[in-house]
Amino acid sequence: MASKKKEGFGLNIPDAPFRPGEEAVFETWSWKPGDLNRPDPTKCTSEDTVPHAQGLVRVLGDDDKASGAWDPKLSADELREGLEHMVRLRIFDDRMMKMQRTGKLSFYMRSFGEECVAIAQTMALETQDWIFPTYRQPGAQFVRGRDMVSMICHCIGNVEDNIKGRQMPVHYSYREGRFISISSPVGTQFSQAVGVAMASQYKKLDEVTITWIGDGASAEGDYHYALNFASVFKAPVILNVVNNQWAISTHANFATASDEFATRGLPYGLASIRVDGNDFLALYAVTKWARERAAAGVGATHIEVLTYRAGAHSSSDDPSRYRPSDEHTKWPGGDPIERLRDHLIEIGEWSAKRQSGLEDRIDDEVMSAYKEAVKHGDLASGPYPEADTIFTEVYEEMPWHLKEQFDEVMEG
């Protein structure tokens, strides 16, 4: 039997709020520092966090002052350390992007506008904690002490690339810092991180695992596997959805029809919190809270890190084709570096002069690291890793069929 057509029916296709040529006007946030209480992380239930999932944890106010129950009361030295890492990441990214534009790197991805995410969150952890990142959290490596030269060597893919030219730039692996190898398929790390955490739990070790996923990748099955396994097995894991509004050209409206991502953790029984991802203090405090909860054996926390991807997805992307080019300047969360800088100035622990001094020093640091890195080979002329690296570490020991192919290459 044929169905009748119905008036007013049709596919519902969402859209981004603003498109090129339009003026981006974001609603002003109604949430202020001090709005939300800080429940006891070792005792509270998922239900107790409903207001936190629907609201927004903030510490830094529009007046650049810190306030409210979530103020982590960091020392000026700790704040300056956070600022320095964020400035380092931004200058590093800018330099690497220039290198990409002049053909010295094949590809690059900046963390522009999201520098706070990995840096504040990694600083809130213990050094034995596992970091399971995506391509937008390389900043965690600075916190864990990775040498910048080695990071650049990876991005070039030269002979000193610790992963031997096998992956695209920005797909870092840094075992010494418990920073787990980045993979291109988006979302896979989220559910894997739950396994890392379950192993810590099984071994009864004081270790927590942190992982991130984008708003876009939260539509992958791996996101839901992660929430479910984390909840069922009470895994000591911190699950962050970095809602930076954009997945290449796909707006978050295509990832969910809900107003927020944080609340998705609630039906899984997870403590769920939304936090201003450009507010260093709030992000630090929420992560510390989640760590305390995980370490107490109460279980995982699901965090929506609300931010904005100020730059392009990657060096291959041109966001002016799908969003207003000044949209990021209208973001209610502002710029994470400026906000922490202004807070430090507000409390009398920093100045414009010290800021420019810091930027100059890091500029030099990045330039000299780059010069050092290219001594080990540049993209245009090498030297690159030897072709034998195609065949090694595919297995622990090379099986005969691979050995034959290896010999074929080596004999030229």
Binding site: S183, Q192, V194, G195
Partner: protein, 336 residues
């Protein structure tokens, strides 16, 4: 020595590895309290504790993802995918993640996961309890692929897989769990009295990458794995032709020397597998055999396989290679 069926020998292998290595952890759907839908993990939770042998959500992707993470963090997970047909939600985790982690991280990380999965037809399982998807994994560098066929090799291969620091996809021919299968669904014997069901109770290994000579002859070489080893044995007897029967046991890396040596002797070759013909692992073997043995071959290589169609329910005996089809192929190799 004890007479064990394949369920018992696999259970025994897991029991031994759980005893020997605290890093071994066994989980999957229905694996824990109940002991598995095929009973392979029966009693292991009671003996080793629920923290070492446990049930999971019905989430193959989640099972593989967490196993990957546990492997990264020093454990040696042995997970079960209840039927090989259901492995595909985990395919990305296996192919893009598990298989590549050692290489992609420059050797900084690896994850020694063993994925056990019952495969193959003959139990009236229709489309989705019967497939034999080994070639979906043999095409992925970084994985080892094993297909056991008897209680003895099941235990020894499983112990090797668990001890291996590379990820292993371990196929178990479910049709042979409780007895060797000779291709006659109306007459399925148990493993009782079968020499390959005499299994040492202690730890032993069957090395990965080595084939087993199941029958010895000089007129033709028949290569098979899983349930097809026993069906081929019947076919060889029916054909009256003297054959080497090579039970491949490991598909990646496969034992090319054993195959080449045999074909250099017999000059004839039949490859048998349950999986569909096109891009089946038999195609890889046939190509390799002609590279190595072209001048020893007296007749074209024959492939006897499942058809390039979905696995059927009531007509499964028309789909799976049986002794008649295999014997006919063996005879064809003797022509000319």
């Amino acid at each position: 020595m004890a007479n064990m069926n394949m369920i018992q020998s696999l259970n025994n292998a897991l029991d031994i590895m759980l005893d020997r290595d605290d890093d071994v952890i066994v989980y999957g759907e229905d694996v824990g309290y109940f002991g598995g839908v095929f009973r392979t993990t029966d009693g292991l939770q009671a003996k080793h504790g629920a923290h070492r042998v446990f049930d999971t959500p019905l989430s193959e992707g989640g099972i593989l993802a967490t196993a990957f993470g546990m492997g990264i963090n020093g454990l040696r997970p042995v997970v079960e995918i209840q039927f090989a047909d259901y492995i595909f939600p985990a395919y990305d985790q296996i192919v893009n993640e598990l298989a590549k982690i050692r290489h992609r991280s420059g050797g900084e990380y690896w994850s020694p996961v063993t994925v056990r999965t019952p495969a193959g037809g003959g139990i009236r399982g229709g489309h989705h309890h019967s497939q034999s998807p080994e070639s979906q994994f043999t095409h992925t560098p970084g994985l080892k692929v094993v297909y056991c066929s008897t209680p003895y090799n099941a235990k020894g291969l499983l112990i090797s897989a668990v001890e291996c620091n590379d990820p292993v996809i371990f196929f178990e021919p479910k049709r042979c769990y409780r007895g060797p299968f000779y291709g006659d669904p109306h007459n399925v014997p148990t493993w009782e009295g079968h020499p390959e069901a005499e299994v040492p109770e202690s730890h032993y290994t069957v090395p990965l990458g080595e084939a087993r000579l199941a029958m010895e002859g000089d007129e033709c070489t028949v290569i098979a794995w899983g349930a097809m080893v026993h069906v081929s044995e019947q076919a060889i007897r029916d054909s009256g032709i003297s054959c080497d029967l090579i039970d491949l046991q490991t598909l990646v890396p496969w034992d090319r020397d054993a195959v080449v040596n045999s074909i250099e002797k017999t000059g004839r070759c039949v490859i048998v597998h349950e999986a569909p013909k096109t891009s089946g692992f038999g195609a890889e073997m046939a190509a390799s055999v002609q590279e190595r043995c072209f001048y020893h071959l007296e007749s074209p290589i024959q492939r006897v396989t499942g058809w390039d169609a979905p696995f059927p329910h009531t007509t499964e005996w028309d789909y799976m290679p049986g002794p008649t089809r295999i014997a006919a192929a063996i005879r064809r190799t003797q022509e000319g």
